[in-house]
Symmetry: C2
Subunit: 200 residues, 2 copies
């Protein structure tokens, strides 16, 4: 196997790239050796070596604790619990949240053999026990596993002084009712927001 075949084989392992698009990507890189291929190789090697999971929240960062945990302008009394780092990134992109995070590393799943010990739940409870946390926002996926995990964490936090909340269900912004599933629509109806109360 040539060096090129080896490179293509590795590229094909990336999500979203198959054998065909990996070949295309390899050729694309080879035609941009200095402007893209070498910088990408260096960034990859550097990141692979330097990025670590934050010992507090589980976020990936080159700093330890991570830049979000170190940011004194972020509210340390608020912890948003997510399944995966991709979810943390998604919430950060909204720019609408200025608290801390906690990455579980998955959701409870009997099928995948993921129990409470496999997830970073104990670390979350320890953080909540330190006294400075006022509220935990459960931002799990709206799947059976995500909701099971949310229930489990809610139970484990019962009796503590910490408030537990979850993300609202409802109509996606820009979404059309006609295309929405019944579950979401029912949830949106039940959680309807009052715009004007009757005059008294």
């Amino acid at each position: 196997m040539t060096d090129l075949d080896h490179l293509i084989q590795l590229l094909a392992k990336l999500p979203g790239l198959g054998p065909r698009s990996a070949r295309r990507a390899a050729l694309f890189l080879l035609k941009r050796r200095e402007s893209l291929m070498q910088p990408l190789a260096a960034a990859m090697a550097e990141t692979a070596q330097r990025v670590r999971a934050c010992s507090i929240c589980g976020n990936l960062d080159t700093a330890e604790p991570c830049s979000l945990c170190r940011d004194a302008t972020r509210d340390a009394g608020l912890i948003c619990v997510v399944e995966d780092i991709a979810d943390l990134w998604a919430i950060e992109r909204t720019g609408a949240y200025a608290g801390r995070y906690h990455v579980l590393g998955g959701a409870l799943s009997a099928l995948e053999g993921l129990g409470p010990e496999e997830l970073h739940i104990d670390a979350l409870l320890r953080r909540c026990g330190e006294g400075s946390v006022r509220e935990v926002i459960l931002a799990m996926n709206a799947t059976v596993e995500g909701q099971t995990t949310a229930h489990y964490i809610t139970d484990r936090l019962a009796g503590t002084g910490v408030q537990v909340s979850r993300l609202a269900h409802g109509v996606p912004v820009g979404g059309e009712l006609d295309y929405l599933d019944e579950g979401t629509l029912s949830a949106a109806l039940a959680a309807r927001q009052v715009l004007k109360r009757p005059a008294t």
Copy 2:
């Protein structure tokens, strides 16, 4: 910008990856640091440094001349002319060709400002003038640019002892007539192959 953002930005430049899939790919890599991320970074750096365009045919390889040009079992009397290295790879995958190649590096295109000087056409003519070449197979794309290029090369090879051929047009193997464009179907009809001649 963090190291991670920088990595994602570079990944997003690959064909087939957008910002979203680049984030997914970065996370995928970070979760497989030793099994994939470091080997990929090394393969990329290594290939970027060592792969060169073959001075004879223009193929990309770490060897010079490339392994195809050095392969004594391949027929040096046969040159398959392609626009791009991806086309060379496609023909190699068929396993049906055991001659040499010549990569033009594109097709004649007034729009893109590609004239005969920008393509490796002179090098092809030089190879054909060396006396050992019997046939040139033109394997350009079936586009206006590809066909213009084929015509141009055919003209330039007029008067030499070299036979010039092109790939057959016809029904793709496994293709359904109903879905085929008229041009391909007309070409397939005109180039129909006799299965049985009338008894005499």
